[in-house]
Amino acid sequence: MTDPDIPSAYLRDKRTPPPSREELRARIPGWGADLDPADRPSYPKLQYPADTGAHWDFPERQPGSEGREHSIEHAFVTPVFGTAQPLHGLSGAIRRYAYARFSEGRLAHWLLLIVGDRVEAWGSTLRSFASGRPVPPATGLETEFTRGGLRSRRGRSDVRHQLLDPVVVAGPWVAGAGAAVLGVRKVLRSVRG
């Protein structure tokens, strides 16, 4: 007789067998409906030939691929592609370089794309001031008052890192404002003398 204090992991079989089929079927709607692994939609992993509705061997090529950026792990711009937000400006040059120079396997590829993202975001924010419709540091914050910001967070462990969100969101603005003040002071001092 095995010592009842020894857990299953140290023995040949689980000490507590799973509930019976009848018990599970009575308690759980549909229990066992997909019991047979071979009858599940994702089995086998490769299902050839899949019935997809495609009536082409290779899709007709979408016009406008000339000059579009693409991964250098691709042989060409794929026959269909998104045309939203084409590359432009400094951020576009950074992103184009990332695509043209580095494969997806290189960290530089992704870091340059993130640099491009931040450059574009900063430029967009600055332009928004001129547009008369500035984008605030974060949006939707009024829901903190209308949707129970304090109540919803009570007792949650993620509050610890959510406290960093204002730093992450407003930090670049504060740093930018500080740099601007220092720059202006330096210019004024040099002008005065």
Binding site: G32, P41, D57, S65, T78, I114, V135, S152
Partner: protein, 382 residues
């Protein structure tokens, strides 16, 4: 038209944009009647996904009405009510021909490691998404499906990603009869994964999260046991204790890149962007599964490397299975399960916002205010 527009990390709003046009003979233009915000949209919203461009419209979960079709479209007609898988896929490349629709090679010039996804940055192809009044749908003969008359719109929109991903995640777990299955994350994907685990014969389903309303939903919707990781000292030890020190037979990681539970991983992964997200749940999965067990990963991560405990996975002899979901492949069986009540995706929907309140919707969902589990967006509600 009115559309959600990304203006930088933590900044979205609704702006006027041009109505999309037919750009390829097999395109359709769909008027969106219902969209949803996915947990993975928050990765874009927080600036985690490389090449997320200013002006981009998010949204890969949407249903709508066909407004226009290209000249080669045969299977859809103007006026059809359709649900659109989040995958953009051609149906004819090496991968699609084998059913790997999420890995299509003909739709995403920007990367080979991921297929095409609506409204999910240029890293997934540069397609504007469905959190808008209209959206371009490439390969209209391949992706969209007419919504069955009996199907509720909120079930349909959940089936375009979250529900299909939960069901797929359970399949990746290769669940055998009687298995103990742990689901990490009680968001929409995790809740449906927990329901699905029972369909595949699980003997026990345990859901781990720390938000009370989500754990309650796991108990009522998915008949699961729950662990609140805020209430235990070490969730991995708790998983071991609850499984008689074996570990779970299968762990389904349904949390993804913004998983909480480890301050250092959260800060380096999601605040400082030094990793492709916070792999807390992935590491819990590796540590919490039994030796020789299976970890199914359907939580989304970015392309930048993560601090993952791969040595433990090796030493434990684990099977790691993962993919973006080939959604359409799941649908015929899932439609049956939804119709007969075995899967109840729309139970996860807690909030409904008009499109004009998209900024509010994102903040509520991101900060998990007001018990929000799944927000849907109604373009014409204003």
């Amino acid at each position: 038209m009115r559309a959600m527009v990304y203006r930088g990390p933590y900044k979205v709003r609704v702006e006027d944009k041009d109505v999309p046009s037919i750009e390829h003979p097999n395109d359709a233009i769909v008027r969106v009647t219902l969209a949803a915000i996915c947990g993975s949209d928050l990765h874009l919203y927080h600036g985690l996904m490389p090449d997320t461009r200013i002006g981009h419209t998010f949204g890969h979960e949407f249903i709508g009405v066909v407004e226009q079709v290209g000249p080669s479209v045969q299977n859809l007609q103007v006026g059809d009510r359709v649900m659109v898988p989040f995958n953009v896929f051609c149906g004819s490349c090496w991968y699609c021909a084998r059913g790997l629709y999420s890995n299509c090679h003909n739709v995403n010039p920007n990367a080979t490691a991921v297929g095409g996804i609506y409204g999910y940055s240029h890293t997934t192809g540069g397609y504007d998404g469905g959190q808008s009044q209209y959206v371009r749908v490439p390969f209209a003969d391949v992706g969209p499906v007419r919504i069955p008359d009996w199907m509720h719109d909120e079930d349909a929109v959940c089936l375009t990603d979250a529900a299909a991903t939960g069901y797929f995640g359970a399949q990746l777990g290769e669940i055998a009869e009687g298995d103990t299955v742990v689901v990490l994350g009680a968001g929409p994907v995790g809740l449906v994964a927990a329901q699905s685990a029972w369909l595949m014969g699980a003997g026990r389903v345990i859901v781990v999260d720390h938000l009370a309303e989500r754990l309650e939903k796991a108990r009522t919707m998915a008949y699961a046991e729950t662990i609140d990781y805020d209430e235990v000292d070490d969730v991995v030890v708790e998983m071991k204790k609850q499984t008689d020190y074996l570990g779970a037979d299968v762990v389904i990681e349904a949390a993804g890149a913004e998983a909480d539970g480890n301050f250092l991983q959260q800060v380096t992964g999601t605040k400082l962007k030094l990793q492709g997200g916070s792999p807390v749940a992935l590491n819990w999965a590796i540590d919490g599964v039994r030796k020789g067990g299976t970890v199914s990963v359907v939580g989304a991560y970015g392309p930048i490397p993560n601090a993952v405990k791969f040595g433990d996975a090796l030493n434990k002899g684990l099977t790691l299975r993962m993919n973006q979901t080939p959604v359409k492949r799941q649908w015929p069986r899932m439609f049956e399960h939804v119709r007969n009540g075995h899967l109840t995706p729309r139970e996860v929907v807690t909030h409904r916002f008009p499109l004009e309140e998209i900024a509010e919707a994102y903040h509520v969902f991101s900060a998990k205010l007001d018990g929000c589990i799944k927000p849907v967006i109604v373009p014409d509600a204003a």
